[in-house]
Every structure is written in C-alpha cells, then in structure tokens.
Amino acid sequence: MNRKEIITINKLSSAYGKHKILDDINLTIYEGGIYGIIGPNGSGKTTLLKNIARCLVPKKNSIHLADKDITQFSNRSLAKEISYVPQNTDLEFEFSVMDMVLMGRSPYIKRLQSESSYDIEVAERAMKATNTWHLRDKNINMVSGGERQRAIIARALAQETNIMLLDEPVSQLDLHHQLEIMDILKRLAIEDKVTVIMSIHDLNIAAQFCDRLVLMNNGKIFKDGIANDIIKEDIIYSVYGVRAIVMKNPVTGTPHLIPYGNQSDVHRKSSGD
C-alpha cells in the first residue's frame, strides 16, 4: 500500500476547561476510502472530528493537512479542503433545500458576488448524486430526517473538497435511510476519490462500509485498522464492556457483532445469588 498521506495527527490533545477530552492522539489518514471513528459515548469521537474540521482550534503542529499545519489556513481556504457535516443541523429560518445546498459554494464566492451558473451547476450535480434534486424548492425544515441529511451531504459535496467529515450522519435515521446514506458515501469515496471520515455508533454498518476503523476509548485511540482486526470479542468487551459474539456476515463477508450481555449483568447475577 503506497497511498498519499492526507492528514497527519501528531500528539493531539484537547480539553474543555480542565476536563481532558482527547489525550495524545496520533493518527495518519491516507487519501481515499471511508474511515469510521467508533467508540463509546464520551470517548472523544466528535471532539476529534471538530479538531480536524477546526471547529475547535487544535494546538500548533498537532494536525497537518498534507504538509501544512491546519492552524495556518484561513477558514475560507480550509473550507475548500475539508467539508464538515455536524451532528445538529438545525436551521432556524426557512431556506429552500437548494439555497441551503448552494451555501456549500460560499468559500468560492467573493463578498459582493452572487452564485454563478457554474455554482448552480455544481449544486445541481451534488443534489442529483444524493437524490435530493426533486426537493430543491422545498423548505429545508419541512423535509424528512433522511432527506435533510442527504441535502446537508449535498451541501458538503458542493464544497468540492477532498476530505469530508461527518459526525454520526446515520444515527438518527431508520435502517433504509442509514444504508442509503452509506451507499452515497461509499460511491463518493470510490468514484470521486473523496476521503470520508465519519463517526458512527452502529458497529455492523461501520464494519460493512468503512475501509478502516479507528476505535476510541477515554480520549485515546484504542486501536485502528481494518474491521477484521477491530471488531473482535475481546476488544469489544474491554472498550464497551459488552459481551458479544462476532460472526461473519454471510453476504458481505465483513465481521458481524451480536451483543448478548452487559458487564453489569454479570455483576447483578453474582450479587443476586
């Protein structure tokens, strides 16, 4: 494997006040493919993504984009490299779906200019790729959760970046829409060579769609690698405290996790006897 390094994270720490969230993160992300960041609640997945997206400003020289320190970028130039789909995407005021997608062109539009026909073309392409073109005139607050998530991915797509970060893009969606979003992301990674980095709770979906998993625990990277090396009974037990068996998904061949008990269940049983 001789792929280009696209993001290098070096000794990254992050804290809210005195409360440390990330502790000594070292990670290299190569161009192309889907990276799934997994781990229990509070393990630092979102904080890691926010640091890469620079919504939280990391310390100097802890994150490099290609060879350049991420703190050296202006917001505008960074927005041409990295797009970010945050977890909460409320819009208080009413915009049409397409106007919202066109916001993705902002880093390319100067202050007194308005969207060019090229910008509209890019937005249209992004909307067709995410199956949201038919929603273009609808109010963004009136479409369903799945449609909204697709529209926001279209906005990120319209940014024409090499890297797309997504914070739990499927956790609030039903099964059908989860797979739909994952399919879109997979297609982006393969056809458009976009490097997708997403946090995700569903380990089976992560194992099925992600090319590489980064398992986080207590603000540190517990282990990273391909799904077969991460989704293992002993690893899952030590990070999540969950007893599970891992089988092979008969269709995709990826590891499939079936949880059957909690660490606390064991305690309850022993004290109850």
């Binding site: 505008r76 960074l78 927005a79 797009s83 409320d90 208080e92 005021f93 049409s96 066109l102 308005s114």
Partner: protein, 351 residues
Amino acid sequence: MIYVEKRPLIKLILCILILVLLAAVVLSATFGAAHISFLDAIRIMVSKIPLIGRFIPTDGLDSSHVMIVLNLRLPRIILSALVGAALAVVGAALQGMFKNPMADPYVMGISSGASLGAAIAIVAGLEYTFSGIGFITIFAFIGSILTIALIYNIARVGSKIPPTTLLLAGIAINCMLLSLVSVIMVFNRNQVEKIVFWTMGSVSAASWNQIAFLFPLVFTGIVVILLFSRDLNLMSAGDETAKSLGTEVEKVKKILIAICSLLVAASVSVSGAIGFVGLIIPHAVRLLSGSDHRSLLPFSAVGGAIFMVVCDTISRSAAAPAEIPVGAVTSILGSPYFIYLLYTNKKKVLN
C-alpha cells in the same frame, strides 16, 4: 426557486416598498394642525432637492406651510424613518447571528443604558445643546456605549461571545439600569414626567442637526451590515456550519455586534427607547423577502422606516394636540404580533 432566480422579483418588490415609503413620508407631512395638501407637500419637499428642485414652481405656496413642512414635520419624519430602518436592520442581523428569532436590539440592554444616561442629564438640568445636539442625547449615547462595553465584557468567554451569555447579561444589566432610573425618579419627583416620556420614546425633538448626526451613522452602518449578508445566512445555520463553510465567525460577530451597538446607541439617543421595531419588522418582511439576508436586510430597512413613519404619525395626530409616545404606539401595535408569533411557534412545536 432559488434566490438568484428570484432576484428580479425581489428587486421589483423592494422598489415598490421604497415608493410606499416615499408616499408615507409625504402623506405624514400632511397630517397636523395646519392643513397642507398632498400636492403642496410634494412640491415643498421636491423644491428643496438639489438639481431637480429648480424646475418645481414654488409660487402660490404659503410660506408658513413651507416652514412647517421643512422645519417641523420633515425632520421628525426623516428621523423616525432613520431610527426605524436602523432598528429593523439591527434586529434582522441579530436574529440571524444568534440563530434566535426572538433576538432584538433591546434584549441586549442597550436602551436601558441610554435611559440612564438621559435620566442623569435631565436630573442634572443639562438643557444646553452642543452644536445643535442636546446634552440629553449625548448622555444617552455615552450611556448606551458604556452599557454595551459592560455587557460585552461580562458575556465574553475568552475570545468568544456565546449568544446565551450575551442575551442573559443583557437582561440582567437591563434590569439593573432600569432600577437605577426608577431610583433617580423617586429622588427627583419634579422631573419624573420628563424622564418617563423620554424612556417611552419620542422623536418630537427632531432637528436637522440630529439628522446630520444620525444619517451618516445609519447609512454606513446598514451598508456594512449588508456586506455581511451571506455570512449571516451561513451563521443562521449555526456557528460550526458557518465556520466550516469559510466564515470567520468570531471576527464577523465582533464586527457586527460593534456596528449594531453603534446603530442602536445612536438611534435610542435621539429617540428614546422604541420597542418591538427590531423584533417584528424582520419577521413581517420575511414573508415578502424570504430568509436570505441579501433580501431580508434591505427589506427590513425600508419596512422599518415605513413602520416608524406610520407610528410616529399616529403618535402625533391620534390624540392631537396631545402626543402619545411613539414607543407606546410601536409596542401597542407590536406586542399583538409578538403574541401571534409565539402562538404559531407553539403550534409548530406541538406538531
């Protein structure tokens, strides 16, 4: 339709609104004790416009009417239009910036600072004027600027200004300063009426000097806010989204808060506290302009100006020769709309 496609239509509606504003200005000039016809009012005003004015025949116009329109009614009308435009644009900008449809220039507590400044000037008997601008105005302006600086420093967390702390600090300071005004009134009973009238808002003391002070501020302020319309669109989708789409969020916020504060301070220092304009006008014009700040902000400016001209006309002619404070008129018209807004929001939540 997307914004770019709607733009011709939006421009047309804006032109119509501007015509409505001009009509309101002229119509308002005909209201009052002296009967002046609509046509005469137009002739008097247009004759004073450079270049075009020469072609307007002024013969047959009553010179006292000319004096009344130009020196009494017009300054007042223009001043209320400026105040209305400034307050409405600031309201629209704050609502977008804080992602909060209930944000309003007065929530930030600026007006109470102005009230305290004015109360001090009134009690101290500073009735002189300084190059045509009263000391009450100057004290009100200083009071509001100091208040903003105080609120800003209380609310600031490091280099960030979270909207919640800003609004809460505004409310707290608002209460404190208004209490101080009450205390001042208790100890200066003979001045109570004057202070109360000032805090209720009025443009009755309007003069061309005040317009000369307010116009450049309001004009440049609104232009600068307009330059940030696209950033405001992004910020109404959330700070993180705006940042990841290339907006320097904290920098833009500081610039906008500074300009908004200056606009509100200048407005309240000439007019007293006028509520609800900044809150309801952006919501009302949103029905015509949509949520895109590129159209919302100019619509708010014109809409706010129209609303204030109408309210001030009501305030000086509804119970003539007595005067209803214009702040009371805007609130009487504004609060039912505010309640309507709450009601529809409540419905949305229930659904």
